[in-house]
């Protein structure tokens, strides 16, 4: 079983685990329909950009849409920015393969907005201007804080962006068979057009349109999936429990334990926790990164500067929570519906991470792969997913470009002495630079394991940005020394721990697994459970961690041996149906063998991961449980060690202003 490979710290399009579908999921005869839908959506966004380009002249318009976006509009735009391909396709996919555990991800993504609403959105709107750097520079040393905030913004955005670019390329390739490089360049050029010509105005409206399309598509699919059960919740779940494909999937996931279970018990198991997330410490660590990281994501923070005042910022979070939460409830039905109707086995056949669950469900509900409606549905969902990636990437590029142009160029290099024209020009040039970097990285990362990058973005935001912003806003003693130390240590510890974690590819493990596929595994004796030698051992591979008992397993033949046997038996088969099935099985085995051989070739002679480890040193996939407290601690220690008169003097002003909104940046007159 190969599921270890797709265990990623966060669900997203795991490029490395793609089971490639020749020519894409859409048959050639229906490609015109796909292009028509894609073309329609692209044309709509281009029209928005054209309209917006006439409204973007000043920096406030470029970075913050003139602060004239309403709370409700901004709520939709936040949802559009946040519901990335990772959450739309990734979570639906995880639910379709692992049931309950997939749904648990959804919860964290919504609860994250409580932090944003209660402690971040309004104060940041009241004291900030365009960027994370502006918030930190209010009382801390402006040049130092802008520099470090810009570095952090660009780092976080590039991690996030790379995952989106790679995911987008793979998605388009799987669905309609367009070359990976072409899709990445296409995404890049479109996104650049939005950002460079339309700035935040175009980006906002593209995100709003995309969010609306996404919600409509999901509602239609859920209605179609649920209707046969009379919109009864227990009825629908009953269907899940009694579904043969789901029962088989559960049996595959739990292995030997399935032997003593009835089919109903197996089906019910799909609705219970523990099929995917097995380490509670890791889950808590992930939860911490989610609920604190969202509030530190620069592209989300930036959205609060697009509304006229703090009250509208508050309203926008409430709207965003309603939309995002509602959407995530729908993912339960999308995922389970895909498992019910399409079957986990067929979903895995298209993509091992399950990312194709929602698009394939759409095709099925429309009438199947040979029908016009089926292909129209598929094209629509694929186009929405594509728009999602473009819109999210546009937001990320804008955040990076603002850090580069506004914080570094205007703030640090020019010491805030740049004319309005120069500032807008710098913003546009920075967008182009970041956009080209994004395209280059997207192409360079082809076929790479990028599954850890979104998790890393959240972890860095939670460990570096959030402690600095939070303590700047609420702790009188906080100062420049603290935020510099905290952001450096928080971010680097998060990145460092992920680099030593099981998220990375370890050649020895891949080789061992590939050999097991090819040559089979010998019988193993039962192993007794091992007790943990302490909490540290659960985090680092320095001593014995807790391990469950492993039952004895029988020897399993390798794929080569199985194929040989199958080929031999096919020669004597008379029944055409049996022969057909045998041929299909042989094809599957051949694919498995090819993949294992490719892996062996790819990692031949390699023994260590890219950071030189033979196996993970950090046992968790999510670093938050260590790096977040460390980030907070370093802001506190740094603040106590250094003295910064300005930070102390500015406290009263900051505190009054963040609570009242006096002198907050206002909307530009229209």
């Amino acid at each position: 079983m190969n599921f270890k490979q797709i265990l990623s710290s966060l669900p997203l399009l795991a490029a490395s685990s793609l089971a490639f579908a020749e020519g894409g999921a859409v048959a050639d005869e229906w490609k015109w329909l796909t292009f028509l839908v894609f073309g329609g959506i692209i044309a709509l966004t281009m029209y928005i950009t054209f309209w917006a380009s006439k409204r973007v002249h000043s920096t406030t318009e470029f970075y913050a849409a003139g602060r004239s976006i309403s709370g409700a509009q901004n709520g939709w735009a936040i949802a559009g920015d946040y519901l990335s391909a990772a959450s739309f396709l990734g979570i639906a996919g995880l639910i379709s393969l692992f049931g309950y555990d997939g749904f648990m991800y959804s919860v964290g993504f919504l609860v994250a907005y409580i932090t944003v609403l209660l402690v971040i959105a309004e104060p940041c709107r009241n004291i900030g201007k365009y960027t994370l750097g502006d918030i930190l520079a209010f009382r801390n040393n402006p040049k130092a804080s802008k520099t470090i905030a810009a570095i952090s913004t660009i780092t976080v955005s590039i991690f996030y962006l790379t995952a989106q670019m790679v995911g987008g390329g793979v998605l388009i390739k799987t669905l309609i068979g367009i070359d990976y490089e072409v899709s990445v360049i296409g995404v890049g050029i479109l996104m650049l057009a939005y950002v460079v010509f339309g700035g935040m105005v175009a980006t906002t409206w593209v995100q709003i349109v995309k969010a609306i399309l996404l919600v409509i598509a999901s509602l239609v699919l859920v209605a179609l999936v649920w209707a046969p059960y009379g919109f009864s919740l227990p009825g629908f779940l009953d269907g899940v429990v009694h579904n043969d494909g789901i029962q088989k999937q559960v049996a595959k996931l739990i292995g030997n334990a399935a032997a003593n279970m009835t089919p109903e018990e197996l089906g019910q198991r799909f609705l219970e926790p523990g099929l995917f997330l097995k380490n509670p410490i890791d889950q808590i660590s992930l939860g911490m990164a989610l609920v604190l990281g969202t509030a530190g994501l620069p592209h989300i923070l930036m959205r609060f500067f697009t509304v006229p005042n703090a009250k509208e910022a508050r309203k926008s979070v409430v709207w965003a929570m309603a939309i995002i939460g509602g959407f995530y409830v729908l993912t339960l039905f999308l995922g389970m519906g895909a498992a019910l109707n399409v079957g986990p086995a067929n979903i895995i056949a298209l993509d091992k991470g399950g990312n194709m669950a929602a698009p394939i469900l759409a095709q099925y509900l429309g009438g199947g792969a040979d029908s016009m409606m089926g292909n129209f549905f598929l094209a629509f969902v694929a186009a929405v997913a594509f728009a999602t990636i473009v819109a999210v990437v546009a937001g990320l590029v804008l955040a990076s470009a603002s850090a580069m142009a506004h914080d570094i160029y205007v703030g640090v290099i020019r010491g805030n002495h740049a004319s309005a024209e120069e500032q807008v020009k710098a913003a546009r040039i920075s967008s182009v630079i970041v956009g080209i970097v994004a395209i280059v990285i997207g192409i360079a990362a082809k076929g790479q394991n990028v599954a850890h990058l979104v998790g890393m973005a959240f972890a860095v935001a939670a460990s570096g940005n959030l402690p600095a912003v939070f303590l700047t806003l609420y702790w009188k003693r906080c100062n420049t020394g603290g935020i510099v130390l905290g952001m450096l240590v928080g971010s680097f510890s998060a990145i460092g721990l992920v680099m030593m974690s099981p998220n990375l590819t370890y050649p020895q493990a891949v080789i061992k697994e590939a050999k097991a596929v090819l040559e089979g595994t010998p019988a193993k004796e039962a192993v007794a459970a091992k007790e943990s030698a302490g909490f540290v051992c659960e985090l680092f591979a320095v001593c014995q961690n807790k391990e469950g008992a492993k039952p004895a397993t029988e020897a399993k033949p390798g794929a080569i041996e199985k194929l040989a046997k199958l080929n031999a038996s096919m020669a004597t088969m008379a029944d055409p149906a049996a022969l057909e099935k045998a041929k299909k099985d042989a094809g599957k085995l051949e694919k498995e063998i090819k993949k294992a051989q490719d892996d062996l070739k790819k990692f031949e002679g390699q023994t260590t991961s890219i950071v030189g480890l033979e196996k993970p040193f950090f046992r968790l996939k999510n670093p938050g449980i260590l790096s977040i407290p460390l980030g907070f601690l370093c802001v506190i220690v740094g603040s106590l060690l250094f003295r910064d008169k300005r930070a102390e003097e500015m406290w009263d002003e900051l505190y009054v202003r963040q609570n009242t909104g006096i002198h907050a940046e206002g909307a530009t007159a229209h």
């Binding site: 309950y100 609860v111 219970e272 808590i284 979070v317 409830v329 002003e653």
Partner: protein
């Protein structure tokens, strides 16, 4: 109005601002701690109270699913409670300080 006109320390010390600050702080931290505690019950519950989470209550619908769905409801309720209080009470208190800010010396 120019920014130099404000006496921030005096506004900070003003009893009306202190009242707003005290009310807001207590309310926000209460909600924050409540929501975090409720959220982290989910991973803790699935890990250590798995049997309870597996109890079916409505056909195949079990406690685990109910608890996960309740997380959405609780998040929405917290958002609504905060928004209502902020829209009515906090905004009015802040507005009073803003209106009088120039006179606080």
């Amino acid at each position: 109005m120019s920014k130099s006109e404000m006496n921030w320390a005096a506004i900070d010390a003003d009893p009306r601002f202190q009242a707003l600050h005290a009310k807001k702080t207590r309310f926000l931290w209460g909600l924050m701690i409540l929501s975090m505690a409720y959220y982290f019950l989910l991973p803790i519950g699935t890990a250590y109270y798995a049997d309870f989470f597996k109890t079916t209550i409505w056909g195949p619908f079990n406690v685990g699913l109910l608890f996960a769905l309740s997380q959405f409801v609780v998040a929405w309720v917290i958002a609504a409670v905060y928004a209502k209080r902020a829209n009515t009470e906090f905004d009015a208190m802040a507005q009073e300080i803003i209106n009088d800010a120039h006179n606080i010396k």
